[in-house]
């Protein structure tokens, strides 16, 4: 265990926090237009009203952490995915201000416009995150100067579109599950139907994405194959030394992941929305773990040559900076957990409208 691995884990945790938290409010956004009537739409907006801003901070902080700990990843990722990333930013801008502006005016056209911006922005963001992850899994054209050699259109392949759509269904289901905790009455019944409607394509696309990933890039399994499947680039000494332990743990997570997925419809059926939400959150944690473990120690794979790949050592800041920033994170992150807990406790329970609502 060195500072580089610790930072790989910290960045992973920040992205996991982001996926679980902003995942549900992007999902709520994706479902927004399916809600009929102003009251239901306001309930949906206000269910994420106090928390969406904090959820987005996880992304901003993950960006800052990448910049500080792995500047090469930060630079390569955002300059390679230039236009898709700009579209992602526009989507995030639109959905953020839509929440604020939508209910400030009673005109129907006004509300419909911001409703559409909010929903399309959320859907775009969910798709683009998935497409970005798909590109990182398959690798892209990173050259000797660590810059992207491909074009905008190279980033959109059937596989990356598949991961994009999968991510959209995952977030949508996750958002619907969140809404089951925040709604009551007829809206709650409708939301529960949404969960099941999103669940079927989610499971299908999950299976499809898994098969496609293993087929197109078997090396994603290398780190949990008990040493049978060779890694494409370098294999980390930690994996070589502990490949049995790591593989056993990883397959346990696979099993738990399956159970969590199966538990979602069960918990909804038994009217245990919080249990369903936790299951969904655990499932997302597991997916990010598979993704991270599949890549490790690489962070961005070059499909031009493995020697151009960026990994936790050649992409990292100096040891001094990693150490200082790790200490600062260990001081700061417990506070983050405390704030987040306070906010979610304060706003727990069913969402109702009052005069400070959106």
């Amino acid at each position: 265990m060195d500072y580089n691995i610790a930072w790989f884990i910290v960045v992973g945790l920040l992205l996991t926090g982001y996926a679980i938290l902003d995942g549900f409010d992007l999902g709520v956004g994706a479902l927004h237009l399916f809600a009929k009537g102003d009251h239901d739409r306001r309930i949906m907006l206000n269910s994420i009203g106090p928390v969406w801003d904090g959820n987005e901070v996880w992304l901003v902080t993950a960006g800052g952490a990448l910049f500080a700990a792995f500047p090469e990843i930060y630079a390569t990722a955002f300059s390679s995915f230039y236009l898709p990333f700009m579209f992602l930013l526009f989507a995030l801008i639109f959905r953020a201000v839509s929440i604020e502006f939508r209910s400030k005016e009673d005109m129907k056209a006004w509300r419909n416009f911001w409703d559409a911006c909010f929903s399309i922005g959320s859907i775009m963001a969910a798709l683009l995150f998935g497409i970005a992850i798909g590109n990182v899994i398959l690798g892209f054209e990173i050259g000797a100067d660590r810059s992207y050699q491909g074009t905008f259109f190279d980033l959109f392949t059937p596989y990356t579109l598949l991961t994009g759509v999968f991510n959209l269904f995952m977030f949508t289901m996750h958002g619907a599950i969140y809404l089951t905790m925040k709604t009551e009455g007829a809206l709650k019944q409708r939301v529960e139907r949404w969960v099941l409607k999103a669940y079927v394509p989610f499971v299908l696309f999950y299976a499809l994405t898994t098969v496609a990933t293993i087929y197109l890039r078997p090396a994603m399994l290398a780190n949990f194959s008990f040493g049978y499947i060779p890694q494409e680039g370098t294999t980390h000494q930690l994996i070589i030394d502990h490949h049995v332990l790591i593989s056993v743990l990883a397959w346990l997570v696979v099993l738990l992941n399956l159970l969590a997925i199966l538990n979602i419809p069960r918990a909804i059926h038994k009217n245990r929305p919080f249990q369903a939400f936790i299951s969904s959150a655990l499932m997302m944690m597991a997916i990010i773990l598979f993704f991270a473990l599949g890549l490790f120690p690489d962070m961005m794979v070059s499909n031009l040559s493995p020697k151009y790949s960026l990994h936790i050592y050649n992409a990292a800041s100096s040891q001094g900076t990693l150490k200082t920033m790790l200490i600062l994170s260990c001081i700061g992150l417990p506070f983050v957990v405390v704030y987040t807990t306070i906010i979610y406790r304060t706003y727990r329970g069913v969402t109702r409208l009052d005069e400070s609502s959106y």
Binding site: G64, E100, R146, I343, R352
Partner: protein
């Protein structure tokens, strides 16, 4: 235009647009703390009305600030990848710290500030307000720390790795945090933000006073904001002076451009206004002889380095732009002192709110601190050119290699359209909130018969 120029334009546009909003949030954050403390201490309902109205205005600013701020967190990577690789070790740290220590604090307690009035105890709400104000100042701290290192880089060494990539690496973390310019620039920016936030409250209050609406609300808001505006305006020249001094010591070319000083000389003049001519390398205008020498060394005979000490390619281009923006900032700063002192004088003669011309002036002055803050940052950033990191990395060497001019044009045009839409929607929403005005005590009372019942009762009436 090439990728470099387009990227500079895009960064300038997105950063300047973003910077309309955070100073409002920082300045109004301080005022919200004052308003709400007065409410908690005096228990007067008028302060509840005041606090709750300004929270609504604060919210509209804040969300546009957040939405446009996310862009900046990633724009170093999208357009300035070479720069990010070069400085990530140094520059990334304060950015990460900003997220961990400021943004989470700010966004977490913002939820209570905006939606918690009926959910948490009054003391807890005040605490949340203080934390949001503190968090917004801390985010200013970290980002100015990062920017200041670009202005006055210290505590680093250049390291070349096995593959031949050179980058700057921190040698002393606290040295980076407290680089020579970071503290003066931090205080200068935050005090500028206090002025901007206070002027928004002054402007809206003056509007109500002119309309003879919500008078008690408006006059109390006006007076408290006036105290903040006057205090901040008076403090600003002293901090600005220190900041200019640091610039002279560490970035003499920048200060020479600010002051339009081409020729190194004793008894350097201080231009009050004028223009610079790049052909003849002279500055024409009204000047205090020896003024600049006096301000920099308290000695009119001190020799001040001019632009002639620097090779043409190391001078901030064009000098006149920086000269003018710097003078706009200074001139407006002086105007704020005059306005606020005059208003205080009227106030203590109890005639302030009858001065209709003066109320009108305050109503329209809301844009002036925005211009002053923008002009200040424009001077600081344009004055740093041609360097991205002063003396270390040129702007042209920092740009991303993998992006094309077409891509940047697409994003730039979209930013322009989207931000235009945002700007006018923001103005529209603010205008609507202001025209609606504060809710009266009666409206607040009848809506909530019992504090514990408030939320449920209201949601039933809305169903």
């Amino acid at each position: 235009m090439d990728v470099e120029q387009l990227s500079r334009l895009q960064f300038a546009f997105t950063a300047m647009f973003h910077y309309i909003f955070p100073p409002f949030s920082i300045g109004m954050g301080l005022l919200l703390v004052l308003f709400e403390s007065l409410y908690i201490i005096t228990k007067k309902r008028i302060y509840e009305t005041i606090t709750r109205f300004w929270i609504k205005i604060f919210a509209a600013n804040f969300s546009v600030g957040v939405a446009t701020g996310i862009v900046l967190e990633f724009e170093f990577g999208t357009n300035w990848a070479a720069y990010s690789r070069f400085v990530g070790d140094v520059f990334g740290s304060p950015l990460a710290a900003e997220g961990i220590f400021a943004f989470f604090l700010e966004s977490g307690f913002l939820a209570i500030l905006l939606f918690g009035w009926n959910r948490v105890k009054p003391g807890m709400h005040l605490f949340a307000t203080i934390m949001v104000a503190f968090g917004s100042i801390m985010s200013g701290f970290w980002i100015i720390v990062a920017n200041s290192w670009q202005q006055t880089p210290v505590a680093y060494e250049l390291v070349t790795d096995a593959q031949g990539f050179t980058r700057a690496v921190i040698t002393d973390f606290w040295g980076v945090i407290f680089s020579p310019s970071s503290m003066p620039r931090f205080f200068h920016s935050i005090v500028g933000a206090f002025v901007q936030g206070a002027f928004l409250v002054l402007s809206v209050s003056a509007y109500y006073i002119l309309k003879k609406k919500h008078l008690e609300f408006a006059q109390r808001s006006f007076f408290i904001a006036l105290l903040v505006a006057a205090g901040a305006s008076l403090l600003q020249p002293a901090i600005g002076h220190i900041s200019a001094h640091v610039a002279y010591e560490h970035q003499p070319a920048k200060l020479a451009a600010f002051e339009g000083l081409y020729e190194t000389q004793r008894e350097a003049p201080l231009y009050l206004f004028g223009y610079t001519d790049p052909e003849t390398e002279t500055t024409t205008g009204l000047a205090v002889p020896g003024g600049l020498s006096f301000l920099l060394g308290w000695d009119t005979d001190m020799e001040v380095k001019g632009l002639d000490q620097f090779a043409k390619e190391d001078r901030p281009p064009p000098v006149n732009a920086v000269f003018q923006s710097y003078h706009i900032m200074v001139g407006l700063g002086m105007l704020f002192i005059a306005m606020t002192l005059l208003a205080l004088w009227f106030y203590f003669r109890s005639t302030l709110f009858e001065q209709r011309w003066f109320m009108k002036l305050f109503m329209f002055s809301v844009a002036l601190p925005v211009v002053a803050n923008q002009a200040g940052w424009y001077s600081a950033e344009r004055g740093r050119q041609p360097w991205l990191v002063y003396g270390l990395l040129r702007t042209k060497d920092g740009v991303s290699k993998s992006i094309s001019a077409e891509e940047v044009i697409i994003s730039l045009v979209l930013f322009a359209l989207i931000y235009l839409l945002l700007f006018f929607t923001w103005l529209y929403v603010l205008d609507k909130e202001i025209k609606h005005g504060p809710d009266t005590h009666e409206a607040q009372e009848t809506a909530y018969p019992d504090r514990r019942e408030r939320i449920d009762v209201l949601s039933k009436t809305l169903h």
